[in-house]
C-alpha cells in the first residue's frame, strides 16, 4: 500500500490508529479520580507529543541514517517558529503559509549551517552545530531583539525580529494583510486552517470520562503522519541506502568513487526542514516564539528522545518524544501534597518515609527520573524502547510459534 511493503504498511497503520485514538488512549482514568493526575489527553500535551514526534523523526533521518550527531538542531525549531510567527503577523492567521515559510526558512539556514558543519565529522561536527545553535539563540535573545523602527514608533519591528526574552508575540497592530486584523470582538485572531481555529475543541463525556478532541491536535497529527510516511519512504529509498552506507563506512564509499557530501547535505537539510516544520506547528498551536526553544538544552532533548526511542528505527523517535514530553508535563506536576494524599492510608511515620523517598524523583526532580530511565535504557536496551518492544513481542511470539507447531499450521513470521 502506498508503495510500502507489508511490514511498513502495518507500522504506518499502527501509528495512524494510535494518533487518531490518542484522546482515548491518553485519558484512561476517569475525571476526578486520584489517577486523573496521569491523564495526558489534553490538547496542549497531545499537540506536543506529535510536534516533538516530527522533530525527532527529522532528527533521526540525519542521526539514525548517517550517524552524524547534530547538537544544534533546536536552532531550526526556533527558526521555524519565528518564520511562522512573522507569517501570522504580516500575512494572516492561516497556518498553511506559515508552515510553508517555516520549512523554507529552516531549509535555507540548514543549507548554510550544513555546508559549513559537514566539512568535519564526529565530535567536531557536533560542536560546530552546537556553536551555530547557540549563536542563533543569542541573536534571537538580544541582538535581533532591539527596537528597529525607532523609539518613538510602535511599528512591526518595535521589539526587533525576535522579541527577545519575552518572545515574538502577535499584537493588535499587526497588518495581517490577507486575513482579518482583529476579530469582531476586537481581539487578536487565533491561528486557523481556513476558518477552523486551532484552539477549538470538542468534548465527549462518557460516564466519568471526558475526552477532548482538539482541532489543532488532529491537524498536527495529520502533518505528523505525512512526515512519518515520508520518512519511511526515505529510509527505504536508494537515497536512504546511501545514507546508511555513510554511517557504516564513509571511507569505503569514497573509494568506490562516490562523493557522500551532497547526500549528507541533503540529509541535513531534510532533517532541518522537519525541525522547521515542527517549530512552525508549535507556533501554530500557541502563537508565541521564544528564544529558549533554540537553547542547547532543547537540542540535547531531541538527541535524548531519539536515543531513548531507538536510533535508526522508524517509530523509535516518536515513542521517545512521547515518553520525554509525558514525564516533563505529568511527572513534573506532582507535588508533595499529592504524594501525601496517595499514601495517606499508610501509618504516619511510614507515610512520611515513603513520601521522602519518592519526592526527589517527581516535581522539579523529574530530570532525575529521566536520567535514571535513560541510563537503564542505554545499558540494557541499546536499541531503545523499540528494542524493548521487540523483546517483549519476541517472548510472546516464541510461545505462539510453539502453539502453532502443535496445531500443525504454519503462518508467516511477523
Amino acid at each position: 500500500m502506498l508503495g510500502l511493503n507489508k511490514q511498513d504498511t502495518r507500522l504506518l497503520l499502527l501509528v495512524v490508529i494510535l494518533t487518531m485514538a490518542a484522546p482515548f488512549i491518553l485519558n484512561p482514568f476517569p475525571e476526578g479520580s486520584a489517577m486523573a493526575q496521569f491523564n495526558a489527553g489534553y490538547p496542549d500535551l497531545m499537540q506536543r507529543f506529535v510536534i516533538f514526534g516530527i522533530f525527532a523523526i527529522g532528527f533521526n533521518i540525519l542521526f539514525g541514517l548517517t550517524g552524524y550527531l547534530s547538537f544544534g538542531h533546536a536552532a531550526f525549531l526556533g527558526i521555524g517558529s519565528y518564520a511562522a510567527m512573522w507569517m501570522f503577523k504580516v500575512l494572516g492567521m492561516n497556518v498553511l503559509p506559515a508552515l510553508a515559510l517555516s520549512v523554507i526558512m529552516s531549509g535555507i539556514f540548514a543549507v548554510f549551517i550544513g555546508y559549513i558543519s559537514l566539512r568535519r565529522s564526529g565530535i567536531y561536527f557536533s560542536i560546530l552545530t552546537l556553536a551555530f545553535a547557540m549563536m542563533s539563540y543569542s541573536l534571537a535573545y538580544s541582538v535581533l531583539a532591539t527596537d528597529m523602527d525607532g523609539p518613538d514608533k510602535q511599528g512591526l519591528l518595535q521589539k526587533g525580529l525576535t522579541g527577545g526574552e519575552t518572545g515574538l508575540q502577535l499584537t493588535l497592530q499587526d497588518p495581517r494583510i490577507l486575513g482579518q486584523q482583529t476579530t469582531a470582538e476586537g481581539n487578536i485572531p487565533v491561528p486557523s486552517l481556513f476558518g477552523l481555529e486551532m484552539r477549538s475543541a470538542a468534548e465527549l463525556n462518557v460516564g466519568d470520562w471526558v475526552f477532548t478532541f482538539s482541532a489543532g491536535y488532529y491537524f498536527a497529527a495529520f502533518v505528523m503522519l505525512l512526515s512519518f510516511y515520508l520518512s519511511i519512504r526515505i529510509f527505504r529509498s536508494p537515497f536512504g541506502l546511501v545514507l546508511k552506507s555513510i554511517k557504516s563506512n564513509q571511507q569505503r564509499l569514497n573509494y568506490t568513487g562516490m562523493n557522500p557530501k551532497p547526500y549528507m547535505l541533503a540529509a541535513f537539510v531534510i532533517s532541518g526542514m522537519y525541525a522547521g516544520l515542527a517549530g512552525g506547528l508549535m507556533a501554530s498551536m500557541d502563537p508565541l516564539a521564544g528564544p529558549e526553544r533554540m537553547f542547547w538544552t532543547a537540542s540535547g532533548e531531541v538527541v535524548l528522545m531519539t536515543i531513548l526511542g531507538g536510533v535508526g528505527t522508524l517509530i523509535g523517535p516518536v515513542l521517545g518524544a512521547g515518553a520525554i514530553k509525558y514525564m516533563e508535563n505529568i511527572l513534573s506536576k506532582i507535588n508533595s501534597d499529592i504524594l501525601h494524599t496517595w499514601f495517606a492510608f499508610l501509618p504516619d511515620g511510614l507515610e512520611d518515609f515513603v513520601v521522602a523517598i519518592i519526592y526527589p524523583f517527581i516535581g522539579k526532580g523529574w530530570h532525575l527520573t529521566l536520567g535514571i530511565i535513560f541510563m537503564l535504557v542505554v545499558i540494557f536496551l541499546p536499541g531503545g524502547l523499540v528494542q524493548g518492544g521487540q523483546k517483549i513481542a519476541g517472548m510472546f511470539r516464541g510461545k505462539k510459534a510453539a502453539d502453532e507447531k502443535a496445531d500443525g499450521k504454519t503462518t508467516p513470521a511477523e
Binding site: 538580544s142 518572545g167 508575540q169 476586537g186 475543541a201 477532548t212 508565541l288 513534573s332 522539579k364
Partner: protein, 446 residues
C-alpha cells in the same frame, strides 16, 4: 499485543461497534458553551491556577508567592484568621469561597522561561480547568502568560512583575496588575537619590538582559538624568548569570561614581556581593564616595545579600514593617502560619487573589468580562498600600510607593530594610497613553 486479529472483517466489526457507540453517546461541544466562557465552574468548587517560578533565579520569590496563595485560599474558604478580609474596604467576601464555591487550586512551574510558563498555564487551563491564572515572577513571563490568557479567555492576575510593558505596550483586557512598575520606581527614587548623593553624579548601569531590565534602566536613567546625573555606561547581563565579577571590573575602569544594579532576585544578590568584594563601597571616585543603587528591592534579596545591603537605596511595593491595619493583619496571619514575615512578592500575590475573588463576588459571575468590569476603576483600601485605584485605561494599580534603604543596625534577621520615604501616589501617576499598546476587548473564550 499478544494476539492480533487484524483481518478485514474484524476491522469492520470493531469499527462499526465504535461508530455506533460514538453516535449514541451524549456529546456536547465546549465551543458552544453552556455558560458562555472558558472553564465555567459547574460543581461546588472553583479552580484557580498559581503559576510561579519554582526553579531558576526567582525560585525564592516563587516559593513565597505560593505560600501567600495558599494563605489566600485558606482565608477565602473561611479558614485561619481571615487576614486581609477583615481590613479590606469591600465587604463582598464572606469566607464561604467565591460565589459559594469552595476554592481549590493547582500549581505550575514557570521556570522563569516564557515557553515553559505558557505550557504550564495551558495545561492548568486545559487539563485542570483553571478559571483564573495568577503569579509569575518575571516580566517576560508575565507578558507571555498574559497574552495566553487573553487568547484562552481567562483572567490573568499578574504577580510580581515590575516592567512598564505589562500594563504598557503589552497590556491586555484580560490582564490586571497590582504591583508597581519601573516608571514609578524612577519617579519615586530619583528625588531621594538627589537629596542624598547630589545632582552631579556619574552613573553606570548593570541591567538584566530582558524586558524588565530594559524598562527599569530606562526609567531610572530618564528620571536621574532629569535631575542632572550623567549616565556613563550601561551593560546588559544574562538573566542566568551567577558570577558578575567580569561585569564589575570594568566599572572600576570607568569614571562612574554610582553603580545602578537593575537586577532582581538571585541576580541582585550575586551582583551586589561581587560589587562589595571588589571594594566598590570603600571606593572614592571623582572626589565622592562611590554609591550603589538597587532600583527594585525586596526583603528576600536583602536577606540573601546579608551585610552588603546596608545603606543601599531602592524602592519596594510593600514592606512588612508598615504600620497600617492591613499590613499588620497580613503580617500576623502569614507569620502565624509560616513563622516569618511575608515578602513584597507574597503580599502582591495574596492581594491579587483576594481582589479577583472580590471582583467575582461583586460581579456575581466568573465570566472574565464581568470580572474585568468589576475590577476597572475599582477603588479600595485596607490592603496595606493605603487607598488604591485599579485604573481602567491600563489595568494598573496606583498607590503610594516606598523608598527603602538597607538598615545599618538590623534588630533581627527579618528587619533588614527601613522605609526612607513614602512617595505619594500623585508623584508617581502618569498618563496611560505614554507607553502605547492597546487593551483590546475582553475575551471570555469559548
Amino acid at each position: 499485543m499478544s494476539k492480533s486479529n487484524l483481518t478485514r472483517r474484524g476491522l469492520i466489526k470493531t469499527g462499526a461497534v465504535a461508530g455506533a457507540a460514538g453516535l449514541t453517546l451524549p456529546t456536547y461541544l465546549r465551543a458552544d458553551g453552556h455558560s458562555g466562557f472558558t472553564n465555567a465552574p459547574t460543581g461546588s468548587t472553583v479552580t484557580l491556577g498559581f503559576n510561579v517560578p519554582q526553579s531558576g533565579p526567582y525560585a525564592d520569590e516563587g516559593a513565597d508567592e505560593l505560600r501567600a496563595y495558599e494563605l489566600a485560599v485558606e482565608h477565602l474558604n473561611g479558614g485561619g484568621d481571615g487576614g486581609l478580609l477583615n481590613t479590606f474596604s469591600s465587604k463582598a467576601l464572606d469566607g464561604t469561597g467565591i460565589l459559594g464555591k469552595k476554592v481549590e487550586y493547582v500549581t505550575g512551574d514557570t521556570q522563569t522561561k516564557s515557553d515553559a510558563a505558557r505550557a504550564s498555564a495551558r495545561s492548568m487551563i486545559e487539563k485542570d480547568g483553571a478559571i483564573m491564572i495568577t503569579g509569575g515572577s518575571s516580566s517576560g513571563v508575565a507578558v507571555a502568560v498574559q497574552a495566553l490568557c487573553q487568547e484562552a479567555g481567562v483572567i490573568f492576575m499578574a504577580g510580581l512583575t515590575h516592567s512598564n510593558d505589562t500594563t504598557g505596550k503589552d497590556k491586555k483586557a484580560n490582564g490586571f496588575r497590582h504591583f508597581f512598575n519601573s516608571y514609578m520606581t524612577g519617579a519615586a527614587l530619583a528625588p531621594v537619590l538627589a537629596n542624598n548623593y547630589g545632582t552631579d553624579r556619574k552613573a553606570y548601569h548593570l541591567t538584566a538582559d530582558y524586558n524588565w531590565g530594559y524598562t527599569t534602566e530606562e526609567a531610572v536613567r530618564t528620571s536621574t538624568e532629569a535631575m542632572g546625573w550623567e549616565t556613563v555606561g550601561t551593560v546588559l547581563t544574562p538573566l542566568t548569570q551567577t558570577d558578575f565579577s567580569s561585569y564589575i571590573a570594568p566599572v572600576l575602569q570607568s569614571d562612574a561614581d554610582v553603580l545602578v544594579l537593575n537586577h532582581y532576585g538571585g541576580n541582585m544578590v550575586n551582583s551586589l556581593t561581587n560589587a562589595v568584594q571588589f571594594g566598590l563601597r570603600e571606593r572614592v571616585a571623582n572626589g565622592k564616595n562611590f554609591e550603589i543603587v538597587v532600583p527594585l528591592y525586596s526583603r528576600l534579596m536583602a536577606k540573601g545579600a546579608g551585610e552588603n545591603v546596608k545603606g543601599i537605596f531602592g524602592s519596594t511595593n510593600w514592606h512588612w514593617s508598615l504600620q497600617d491595619e492591613g499590613s499588620k493583619a497580613f503580617v500576623k496571619s502569614f507569620g502565624t502560619k509560616y513563622g516569618f514575615p511575608p515578602s513584597q512578592a507574597a503580599h502582591t500575590c495574596y492581594v491579587q487573589a483576594l481582589l479577583y475573588a472580590d471582583a467575582v463576588q461583586r460581579a456575581g459571575s466568573f465570566n472574565p468580562c464581568a470580572v474585568g468590569e468589576a475590577l476597572k476603576d475599582f477603588s479600595f483600601d485596607g490592603m496595606g498600600n493605603g487607598p488604591t485605584l485599579y485604573r481602567g485605561e491600563d489595568h494598573q494599580c496606583f498607590k503610594d510607593v516606598l523608598v527603602v534603604k538597607g538598615k545599618e543596625n538590623p534588630t533581627s534577621e527579618f528587619d533588614l530594610l527601613e522605609i526612607v520615604e513614602i512617595t505619594p501616589v500623585e508623584q508617581v501617576t502618569y498618563d496611560a497613553s505614554i507607553f502605547g499598546g492597546e487593551l483590546g476587548a475582553c475575551n471570555p473564550g469559548a
